[in-house]
């Protein structure tokens, strides 16, 4: 008898099956976290922590590589959404907002840089690490804002500051990478041309996509469903294009979001909510991030990692507290705002991987300490945001 129609043994595990399982497990983890009054994200990440050894045992490759497409798409959606919430006009009207953003980024950079120099790291490694540490995780902040239904000045300011520091961090990291190239004797032209291509190219791609989005939006009926499909398609396409053209996914998507932001001249594109549809992607994003963080780094990098986390916290708090006071925020609002800038997650991890790929010495030198800080902030960050927005009075009392 021919048994070809039956599956062959042993079973070969496929990634779709794995992702399905991770998604459902992540969702359940999130609900358990919520029952404990903790942010859902902690549940997702915890499932990731648990899944890592399991994936290893089943002989699967690193999840971050296999799930790259999900991570890129989720991050693409997050950055696009964040770009949409960023308001350059507001920063012009209220200088204290832009000042707080610049100050917390610069001070974070300075504090982390000084800290690493004190631990005898080279200037290039210290600078690259410091530039990555500037970024706040956009996904964590956006997701907690969604989950807690936070609304108000601190929430809006936090989202703008996150957009700003993510932007600065990704630009600076790119430029510093070229300095690293210089040290390893790469050609001077590529040292200038590469960051210029990355920066200008990514922004230009964002602008083109925003124009295309508006053009198509004008041609179809103005309904939320159609515009949602349009944006989802273009965001996915943008991620693909940015990878294809070797541009920065982060910059291109932030720029795309920023350029689609509606201003007085142009309201063709509806501001549709991406939240419900993008949730599964976000869950997978955090599970994979959790699975990609090596817990052994907590041991090897503990001391320097703790110092880094402390320096980063000091930089962000100082920058925000000083300028928010000028902006008329109450102290508890300023503290809440500073807390909202604490999370580090996938964005930092991706930047770290990008650096480690292009500049392997970096990974070996500072890797453990950086990852230790990342693991700590992956857990403390969401708690800080939830607590901070509550302190500022922006989460509903009845919820």
């Amino acid at each position: 008898m021919n048994n070809n129609f039956l599956p062959a043994l042993p079973f070969e595990l496929s990634y779709p099956l794995l992702f399905g399982v991770l998604l459902v497990a992540g969702m359940l983890g999130g609900e358990m976290a919520r029952k404990a009054h903790a942010p859902r994200i902690l549940g997702y990440v915890a499932v990731g922590f648990a899944a890592a050894p399991l994936a290893q045992w089943m002989n699967l490759g690193p999840l971050l590589d296999a799930g790259r497409i999900f991570v890129d798409l989720a991050l693409g959606l997050v950055l696009f959404d964040l770009g949409r919430r960023m308001d350059v006009q507001w920063m012009r009207r209220d200088w204290t907002l832009a000042a707080a953003g610049l100050a917390e980024s610069v001070l974070t950079f300075a504090a982390v840089f000084a800290c690493l120099i004190a631990f005898d790291y080279t200037a290039v490694v210290a600078a690259i690490t410091a530039s990555i540490a500037m970024a706040t995780s956009p996904a964590v902040v956006l997701l907690i804002v969604q989950d807690t239904k936070a609304e108000g000045q601190v929430t809006e300011r936090a989202l703008n500051l996150v957009a700003l520091n993510s932007l600065l961090a990704s630009i600076l990291t790119t430029i510093l990478l070229t300095t690293a190239h210089l040290e390893t004797k790469a050609e001077v032209e590529s040292a200038i041309l590469h960051p210029a291509y990355l920066f200008l190219g990514s922004v230009f791609l964002g602008w083109i996509l925003a124009s295309v989005a508006r053009g198509i939006a004008r041609a179809v009926e103005k309904t939320a469903e159609l515009h949602f499909t349009l944006i989802a398609g273009l965001v996915t396409g943008a991620v693909g294009l940015a990878v294809l053209l070797k541009l920065s996914v982060i910059l291109a998507l932030l720029a795309f979001g920023l350029f689609t932001r509606n201003d007085a001249r142009n309201f063709d594109l509806l501001n549709v909510s991406l939240a419900p549809a993008s949730r599964p992607l976000y869950i997978v994003l955090f599970v994979i991030t959790g699975a990609s963080l090596p817990p052994e780094a907590l041991v090897t990098g503990a001391v320097v990692g703790a110092a880094l986390a402390g320096a980063r916290l000091a930089g962000k708090f100082t920058g925000v507290l000083v300028f928010s006071a000028f902006g008329g925020l109450k102290l508890r609002q300023s503290v809440g705002l500073a807390c909202s800038l604490m999370p580090m997650s996938t964005l930092a991890l991706m930047l770290h991987h990008q650096v480690a790929r292009q500049y392997p010495a970096f990974g070996a030198e500072v890797g453990a300490a950086f990852l230790a800080m990342l693991i700590v902030m992956e857990v403390m960050g969401p708690l800080a945001v939830q607590w901070g927005l509550g302190l500022a009075g922006e989460t509903p009392r009845e919820a």
Partner: protein, 376 residues
């Protein structure tokens, strides 16, 4: 203890305007009132004050007491400019209009004061649905008896104020087919309605004491009537108007109320008040649903009359009274609106037809509030 009616200079007037606080990315209502009010505390207003309202997405502007329409308009424009300047710093927009076209009531949050929290506990979802935006007009009267008289005599003109101020055609994301949908949020309250057919302040006091005795009300604030005497201020308060899209319209409506009150107080009517209320609910509905095209019935005459015609006729009758009050410019401006059947609901529906998006409508609504008349 009887309610004391404070005496105020007859025919002085003032307005309250409830306004929406909006975010600037999708123009939904936003929890912005606490921060906006805190910032406004540090700003010098040309007069009047700005206060919190039942949910955290609303603010209320109170003008000071005026006797001339131009002075009221100038003050309202000044307060508006101050609010807009503060809102800019916080990245909020502010707009007029009787309802927010697409907000969902369940997303609103009750303003954390003791009174609002109590109202919310008592009325449940009605409190959040009460996130609607109205204009109240106060007219000064000499004594309580005049207040009772004027409250009754203004009742037949309620459809005029509804049609002229209508600015809430959309509610919860839908075109309601009404010129004003805001009043439905008011009508749901158990103490909505109108003054009972008392004819003197003493009779009203007896009624109030009885209601207080039953434990139904604690103060005048508990009556959500369309028109009510306001003994603390010494005024009659018309509470039927939607907040218009511009301060200009708000001042015009106040001028109409002032002139109408002057005429009613000068040429005292002696017909019984009870029949007025037989047709009250019907006429009110007609104006809410059809605006200027609504058809009014009167207990004192045969047939029906269009709201528009009734307004034009009334404005004509007021002409001799207007010059003394300085409203002779305001009344023709209102007459023109009636002639062209133009009110804010029409404007909002036109904008929706053009943009096909309610967030866009709100954005334009906020722009109009800000720029019309231009900032001083």
């Amino acid at each position: 203890m009887p309610l004391d009616f404070s005496r105020s200079a007859p025919l002085t007037f003032g307005v309250e305007l409830e306004l929406m606080v909006l975010n600037t990315h999708d123009y939904n209502l936003v929890r912005g009132a606490p921060d906006l009010l805190r910032r406004l505390e540090k700003v010098k207003l040309p007069g009047g004050e700005v206060k919190p309202e039942i949910t955290e997405s609303m603010i209320e502007v109170n003008s000071s007491v005026h006797s001339r329409h131009e002075a009221l308009l100038a003050e309202l424009a000044g307060i508006r400019d101050a609010i807009v300047a503060c809102a800019d710093k916080l990245n909020f927009a502010v707009a007029g209009g009787g309802t927010h076209p697409f907000h969902l009531w369940k997303e609103r949050r009750i303003y954390p004061t003791e009174r609002f929290q109590r109202v919310s506990e008592l009325y449940g979802y009605l409190a959040k649905q009460f996130t609607v935006f109205g204009q109240h007009i106060h007219i000064g009267v000499e004594n309580g008896d005049d207040a009772v008289y004027l409250t009754h005599q203004l009742a037949p003109y309620i459809p005029h104020f509804i049609a002229l101020s209508a600015s809430s055609p959309f509610s919860q994301g839908e075109d309601t087919s009404f010129e004003t949908s805001r009043l439905h949020a008011v009508s749901s309250f158990p103490l909505a309605g109108q003054l009972p057919p008392v004819s003197t302040w003493a009779e009203f006091n007896a009624y109030f004491d009885a209601m207080k005795g039953y434990g139904i009300v604690a103060s005048m604030k508990d009556f959500y009537w369309d028109i009510r005497p306001k003994p603390e201020y010494g005024t009659v308060e018309i509470r039927i108007c939607d907040t218009p899209l511009t301060v200009e319209t708000a001042a015009l409506l106040a001028a109409y109320a002032q002139t109408l009150s002057a005429e009613l107080l000068r040429n005292r009517r002696s017909m019984p008040v009870e029949p007025l209320y037989r047709v009250y609910g019907y006429n009110r509905f007609q104006a809410c649903r059809f605006g200027f095209e609504g058809e009014l019935v009167s207990p004192f005459r045969e047939g029906r009359v269009r709201v528009a015609d009734d307004i034009v006729e009334t404005l004509k009758r007021l002409e001799p009274v207007a010059p003394a009050l300085g409203t002779q410019g305001a009344l023709p401006a209102l007459a023109r609106r009636v002639t062209f059947a133009s009110n804010d609901s029409l404007w909002l529906r036109d904008r929706y037809r053009e943009t096909k998006s309610l967030p866009d409508v709100v954005r334009l609504q906020a722009q109009r509030w800000r720029n019309d008349p231009p900032p001083q």
